[in-house]
Amino acid sequence: MTAIDTAVAARAKRGSRIPLALLLPALLGLVFLVLPLAGLLIRAPWSAMPSELSSAAVWDALKLSLICATSATGVSLVLGVPLAWLLARTEFPGRRVIRALVTLPLVLPPVVGGVALLLALGRNGIVGRWLDSAFGITLPFTTTGVVIAEAFVAMPFLVISVEGALRAADPRYEEAAATLGASRLTAFRRVTLPMIAPGVGAGAVLAWARALGEFGATITFAGNFPGKTQTMPLAVYLAMETDPDAAIALSLVLLAVSVAVLVGLRDRWMSTP
């Protein structure tokens, strides 16, 4: 019997006796997470769905959501992966502080994040003022603003995921690459990055999902205008004010699209053992 056989046998044997102390809370947790979704599905105005979803505004919002979430993920990848590398592979004073700062948007209420973005990148913000006067660029109330708000909230997920993958990856492969003539950048590009691809993928999926559902920072920083900055969550929120049925219909569309994308990506990117 090989070690693997033994392990499989052991797992199968233990599987027959799941302790109640674990099973019960686990099932409760599952119900807790699934029940609201079930509520949404059961109470959904199915007969009215076609008319609710026939308006172009819905599809505009959905298209905008997908474009912005994907762009925000792209921005997060371009900036977040190097940031994660810096945190995982280099030593510099204040690294722990920087790391804490990077993860701050995770705990910051998104609305406050949006205000912070306004104060930094708004027309009167510390950087935004200069962008406006020097280049005539204003970011709030633009689609770019949506991408920025979403990236601000989503990037920490990516950074944390990639940093974890980097820490788990053996840095000696980078040394091996160096002895073969690879510069640090080449080693990162050709060796480290492919090796941590699953971690990057998982982080990107998380970031994308977070960006897709982003509400607070977006509405505060980018405002709400159909076709330009009104993403699905904003549309859902405003529909909720007057027409809950429409809001539910919109939510279901968002849910369906994100489930489809996440299931599709899962096989490609996230290898669960």
């Binding site: 708004g122 009167n124 109330f141 505060t220 980018a222 205008f225 929120y237 405003l238 004010e241 007057t242």
Partner: protein, 275 residues
Amino acid sequence: MTTTRSRTAAATFAVLALAVGLTACSSSKSATPAASGASGSAAASASAPKATGTITVFAASSLTGTFNDLGKKFEAANPGTTVKFNYGGSSALAQSIVAGAPADVFAAASPATMKTVSDAKDTATDPKVFVRNTLEIAVPKGNPKNLTSLQALAAPGVKVALCATQVPCGSAAQTALTAANVKLTPVTLEQDVKSALTKVELGEVDASVVYQTDVQAAGGKVDGVNFPEAAKAINDYPIAEVAKAPNAAGAEAFIAFVESTTGMQVLTTAGFQAP
């Protein structure tokens, strides 16, 4: 430079306060229901209802300042009572009441939003209009772009924040714009009047169409510009007792207090008009 910075700081506080307000709003459904049992004697007359316990008031966010003030005065006049407020966009509040939120009193910023509640038979009394509010153009302090009319807002390069049409200030603004025959593309449709005003305070937009009372409540951080078409879009604020009010006696007492001379004085001082 210094003034700008301090203004920005003040604005930050204003916006942070707003953020906190939103959080409170979203958690309102779990707010403690009024801990009162004194509703048995419903025979209490409208002129002097006996109020005790906690009274929960859902009010349009444009009423924030005045109702806070009224709440304190009411508590002083009726020892043993506590008034709790939940401010938010009128439509969001209406939705939460229909969904069963434990409110005693609902004060909305438009008859339309009140109607969603009364249509659902969730009001105990017929809604009464207790104040009216007029629109004003809010501009950053000093009116840097010198905007003096609704027409001026439609000029290219002028960034305007409006309320979303789903909320009263948005539909009122739309009525005024239609009356003025002004076609205007705002940069954003905000989810409530305070957010629209915040964008002006931060200088992110050049103007917004909000209530006179909001401009006044901003306390000099923004300037208000009157425009004639506002007369065509005067907003009525109805108030009503909620059907399933946990503290019906308290609700009646509070509504009576709002409509009293003292109450009206507080409201008119803040810029509201008597109906």
